[in-house]
Symmetry: C2
Subunit: 385 residues, 2 copies
């Protein structure tokens, strides 16, 4: 039984519905950010992140910094790239393009390899690009929240390793961490940046990331100082290492309440094998995508292999407007998101299915949402052709 | 009666003790960051900030961004100063120097006017400096959390207006907003940056700031683009304006829970006249400082006119170590902070007295702390000479 008041079920691709215990942790009484109690909580949260990212290498470095997920882009752009260096951005939507914009702000020379809407750049063209120029970094958006397109990391990493082994592979995992498998060490990833409010299931306000020893070495070898103060790895690395070693340390005040909530969320995630969690997200996603197909609707992510398992971006039928459908869903107590990709914004809606709505067997969020979608479309006059 | 579990009373200069209703707001059920309910809450919080800062000018611009207070420095350094431009930093401690470091990262040429420990730069030397060079910006730390030194804003502003009227006057109010009076319009301030977790009384995780129309015009007249992506006024200004106009808008996901808590904290603050709030902080501060004097102890802030009203930095007696005293205070259920100013770190402790611990008549935090300080010093073998 939830202790939360009756409220519309939030099924947008983040923020997601949060577990009661996580929300209760947000109300933790005030503690010193350098006191032993909080230092232990923060240190444990950092260690748990290693498990979530599946990294056992002691040279991997986690960061948890107060900020939106977007701050992770600055962390990469201001620390791992120096002005004038080349970066290849693989674009599968709005958020990939945002990462490119951020890199440009910090002086990177960005080549954007952009797939048509609903697709993702393909390995042969990526290989060709990697051969054409020595890239310092290649970025990929694991799941682009604007399109629901899932990128394939393992084969991409193999390609980068084979063709351009010095290039750092950086993953925007804002909409994938904790809903899609990420095997940080085995896949030889150099960085994954994410946020708290999606599949990790902790309220928004934390930028969360993991970088490889190789990425940290590249950072240390910079010729110019980091190009940000608040997002400087130089300022944060010793702080993160101290917290994880349970030693008090200060650069800028962290948010004890958010860190407590993160600790609770990670503890819950790690009580079960991660493989089970990812399988459950796939299972629920398959059910939703089957319903979409049965309704005669198409997904923005055209290719079944490219479809995320924590969200579904659904093209609306010809005569149904998002501005008509979304309020009908809301009347049924379900909140979906509208479109955000500029080229198709009015033509689709987004259904988020991550975290407790998917993993908690006591919750009926997904069935409620599927029923609401069906009746909402019918109320809009839609019938399958 | 508090619904919080029994816990040590946190009387460090931030984070402070939080009111129950504020902490309960942190547990708010999940909402869409662009849904009408949350948009209204965020918009109201932004409007309430105008009242807290005492600005009625429609050209003043508030910002509330997920991040630590430190992010406010980046906001100033990346948006209001262009590489190579001159900035005068008035230093009254560790945090003033930090602001200087941040400005330097973004390419500012910083002149540091540094007072001896426990003091603050004086008007004649400030005037001289302002006459020596055309500064784009002058920064002042209203209360430096490392020393408890209070800077005088009104006369400083008059000097800047008279000697160098084009120069922007930017205030670091992290440790002053909501405990010290700030009359934004009347004092012709161009920017005040602060954080949520001090006298505003909302858990850490929000960078809060107010900029004048003049500062926004200087920003708009930049020749180079903003030097940060996440801390870019270009990215955030339309978002803040839209939220305040109750229109959904997106750049990076805000933290609905923290914004709810901020809304609750600001609502509580604004139920009473601000003058009453500041008078109460002065009254309690006077009592604490009187006790310190009666104990035969000195403050780090030497001059009574330079002493903050939301914190007191207290030099320890010759033979008393902070590492002995602080645990004794903790046993009495009171948490003070150690020193942070490098030159004197081991020689003093810091007592924070802001927010509900001071304003809520039902709370006995301050008397408890004074008693703990007296008995703690006695247990350390200290007797007034």
């Amino acid at each position: 039984m939830s202790s939360q008041p009756e409220h519309p079920t939030l099924l947008i691709p983040g923020p997601i519905e949060f577990d009661d215990a996580v929300l209760q942790s947000m109300s933790h009484y005030s503690e010193s950010h350098v006191g032993p109690g909080f230092v232990a909580t923060f240190g444990e949260a950092l260690s748990m992140l290693r498990k979530l990212f599946q990294t056992t290498s002691s040279s991997s470095q986690p960061f948890v910094i107060s900020g939106s997920g977007t701050l992770g882009w600055d962390l990469v752009a201001a620390n791992l790239v120096e002005p004038g260096e080349d970066v290849l951005v693989l674009s599968s939507g709005y958020f990939s393009d945002g990462f490119a914009d951020c890199l440009t702000v910090y002086g990177a020379k960005v080549d954007l390899l952009k797939a048509p809407v609903g697709g993702r750049p393909q390995l042969p063209e990526i290989e060709q690009a990697l051969k054409s120029k020595k890239y310092k970094v290649v970025t990929v958006t694991h799941v682009d929240t604007s399109t629901g397109v899932l990128s394939e990391l393992q084969k991409l990493s193999e390609t980068v390793q084979r063709v351009s082994p010095d290039t750092l592979l950086i993953v925007d995992g804002v909409c994938s961490v904790a809903s899609e498998e990420i095997d940080f060490d085995a896949w030889k990833l150099d960085g994954v940046i994410t946020a708290s409010q999606k599949a990790i299931g902790c309220p928004a306000g934390l930028s969360i990331s993991m970088f490889s020893g190789k990425a940290m070495d590249v950072f240390k070898a910079r010729k110019s100082p980091p190009a940000s103060y608040f997002a400087s790895m130089k300022n944060w690395t010793p702080i993160m290492q101290n917290y994880e070693a349970k030693k008090p340390s200060y650069f800028a005040t962290p948010s004890p309440q958010l860190i407590h909530a993160l600790h609770t969320a990670l503890t819950q995630i790690l009580t079960k094998p991660l493989a089970e969690r990812f399988a459950r997200h796939r299972e629920v996603s398959d059910k939703i995508k089957k319903t979409v197909a049965e309704l005669g609707l198409k997904q923005v992510a055209a290719n079944p292999d490219d479809q995320a398992h924590g969200m579904t971006a659904i093209y609306l039928p010809e005569n149904v407007k998002a501005t008509d459908l979304l309020p009908k869903l809301a009347k049924s107590g379900v909140v979906f998101a509208g479109g955000i990709h500029k080229e198709i914004a009015a033509k689709y809606v987004r259904f988020g299915h991550m975290g407790v709505s998917v993993t908690d067997p006591a919750r009926t969020d997904i069935d409620k949402a599927i029923a609401a979608l069906k009746s909402g479309l019918a109320d809009c006059g839609y019938q399958k052709a």
